[in-house]
Symmetry: C3
Subunit: 311 residues, 3 copies
């Protein structure tokens, strides 16, 4: 994957997906054993956050540093040269002279692609507004496969705002490389998943309440529902508890299922769930570190898919 | 002190205080000799400044880097995930997955404690609004003991706004572990020290003007007085010179006394004092570096109290 | 150059200029060969950007990191201690305790000099408003000498707003150490170069349009013209194309000439020029990295003029 850009989950076939999984798993073990590596010593990552996202920025930056690399980092809309009328293309053509890899977060859909096309060094999309956030999908995939030991044969329930939830859409797309997954889609009527995301999905049920899916789910992927998305406040008050998880409810769940959430959460998972060993959402955060390490090491040519050697 | 949080000066007994002193002194010598160390290589410090404080942030960050560590750093009220309604607890539970130690500055009292309780990695309080700023007190203590060679038996004068001055309150508390210190408290009537901070203090005098204490003081701890704190502008004009130090006044001071200030200063120390060898306030800044290095090395388990070995 | 400040181009004589050129060239080769060096390991650069300039900040920061050094970095007008009334002098006297070298960008002319005078560690001026930006001039010089193999005997055309263009003024000053250069100055009447910058320049022509100089130019130094600078919008519409370069126009230019621009550009160079091998403006950006590396290594005493050894 040397010099490859990471822009969209569409670029990953099943083989690449599993290759990235293996490298991530390998790096997780190495880091847990040694604390850090020197793989990317002397490399500089430019962290370009045109809109703030502290958690995503920290994840990429820490991944780079734990592999021995360095960073230059900027946050905020007012990139000074762009205020003077510079195009994104020129900004990227400038930044690439200072760095070995670029991580970009930008509010406009398609901007990461533009950046990648302007650059001779690899560009990693850290979210382009309503567009994609491919590393989130990869870490979700990594979490499921690592925790459950497999992907096929699972019952995966997705809960919340399935209409706007970008992480849900992306994960569905990644999982479409796998057969034999049963989906349970739990959302209010007005926040149902758009049919385009169900292409290629063979087995799914649309369900009204979280409680109904709990006994069957192997994976419970929770997401936020914003109050404003409901038809009316009355509707919201009536329905909201159908999409909220608490500790008591977990009694009916499988012993080895897992609970995921892209975070930040607001109130859709009660805090008393956090201590349950099935709660993996903070572990998911940490998995993001290993997946991003894997991508950085791969696109910078320090590791190869199916070939993992660290000195 | 492995994995310990540093939240409040109340957590230090005299033995710990002197242990930290020794480690700081040891690191000061090592750094002055070698420039930097590799003690914290591969470790990542998350620098979370919910309100800006460039000097404190730089001090912690440079301390980390001079010990070979790395950092991820964020400043500003708008931590993006919190804007979406995330609690401080969840923010910390996320950040701890990216880092080995957290330094937090937050405008709300008690927030550092909340962060520490939410975290499995050590949390260092870099100031929680009207709450505490324990590393400032530790560096003040370090400065006095290093410069004077002792703490007991000293005449310590504290000047300025003793009512609101947090550094004064904290230093008094730390010094309360020591006997036989004479305090001279110099402030306008309305900015006198609250009696609660004098608990356990045996010998002190409240004095009206700086000039009166100069001949006796071994330590002159100056602080800012804000104009707005006075009863009236007239009152301010009448009194302000009673709390301002200049070069000429130092003629009556002891030859081996020291002048301290937590900085920033406005006009309470004239610039012509800076060149006097007794002026230690910029040295105090540097001492903060060594004290923070000591704390980072201790809580990350790379050094132990009473046992200092660097490879 | 150990411990020297870099504040103004006036401080460089021809010998120093060529010494810096040689060290930059040496570091460019080293970095291209090895990726990074450990020359500045353990050193900390404080990056103080009182006004934002992402590209200049990244250039200095990446230069520091590629030489193995670390950084503490702050951007924005609201340096917290200065908001409390601290002077720039005190801010610098504090920061120097945390760092080994300071890079400062400040909107006020003269501020870099004040910082340098307050500091015991070297200070590098990264632009002080309408004042100077000496590293830009040095990298422009480096680009010309490296690309053309010489400076003397060249035809150098400067295009655009020659009245306000700081980079033009500085480059002219640097080049005044050299004989036998022919200048072609191309600007609208109201944006002509002020006569003070022509002192010591023997051969120059003032020309109305870019097209006229193209056949002769060895170096074409393009700059932005802001619409607002013209006498009227009508005037602007009439003249603007006289100062804009596109691919077609380059047919009349020499085969081995070079096109420079301090960037950011707006529309004065058409994007179709970028792929022409004579377009060196993004290479200029990269040259800035090597020149800043050279300066950092020199003022920190890790390299000497005329003596280049890296372990």
């Amino acid at each position: 994957m040397l010099n490859q850009d990471i822009i969209s989950i569409d670029q990953f076939d099943r083989e690449t997906l599993e290759g990235i999984f293996e490298v991530s798993l390998f790096l997780e073990k190495e880091i847990k054993g040694r604390g850090s590596l020197d793989l990317l010593k002397g490399k500089v990552m430019a962290s370009l956050f045109f809109e703030p996202s502290t958690r995503t920025r920290f994840s990429f930056e820490s991944a780079m540093e734990k592999l021995g690399g360095n960073l230059v980092s900027a946050t905020g809309v007012n990139f000074s040269s762009m205020a003077k009328g510079e195009t994104l293309e020129d900004t990227i053509k400038t930044i690439e002279r200072y760095a070995d890899v670029i991580v970009i977060r930008h509010p406009e859909m398609g901007s990461a692609r533009i950046a990648a096309d302007s650059s001779n060094i690899p560009v990693l999309n850290a979210g382009d507004g309503p567009g994609e956030h491919p590393t989130q999908a990869l870490l979700d995939f990594y979490t499921i496969k690592k925790e459950m030991g497999k992907v096929e044969g699972l019952n995966i329930a997705m809960i919340g705002d399935l209409k706007h939830g970008r992480t849900i859409h992306s994960l569905l797309k990644l999982l479409s490389h796998y057969e034999n997954i049963n989906y349970y889609l739990v959302s209010p009527e007005e926040l149902k998943i758009p049919s385009e995301y169900l292409k290629g999905i063979k087995s799914y049920k649309e369900i009204k309440t979280l409680v109904e899916v709990l006994p069957d789910a192997d994976v419970l992927y929770m997401t936020r529902i914003q109050k404003e998305r409901f038809a009316s406040l009355k509707e919201y008050e009536k329905l909201k508890d159908c999409f909220v998880l608490n500790k008591k409810m977990l009694e009916s769940a499988k012993k080895d299922m897992i609970i995921m959430h892209p975070l930040p959460r607001v109130s859709e998972i009660a805090v008393d769930v956090d201590e349950d060993p099935r709660a993996k959402y903070f572990g998911q955060v940490e998995n993001g570190l290993y997946v991003r390490m894997a991508l950085l090491a791969l696109v910078l040519g320090k590791l190869k898919l199916k070939e993992k050697v660290v000195i």
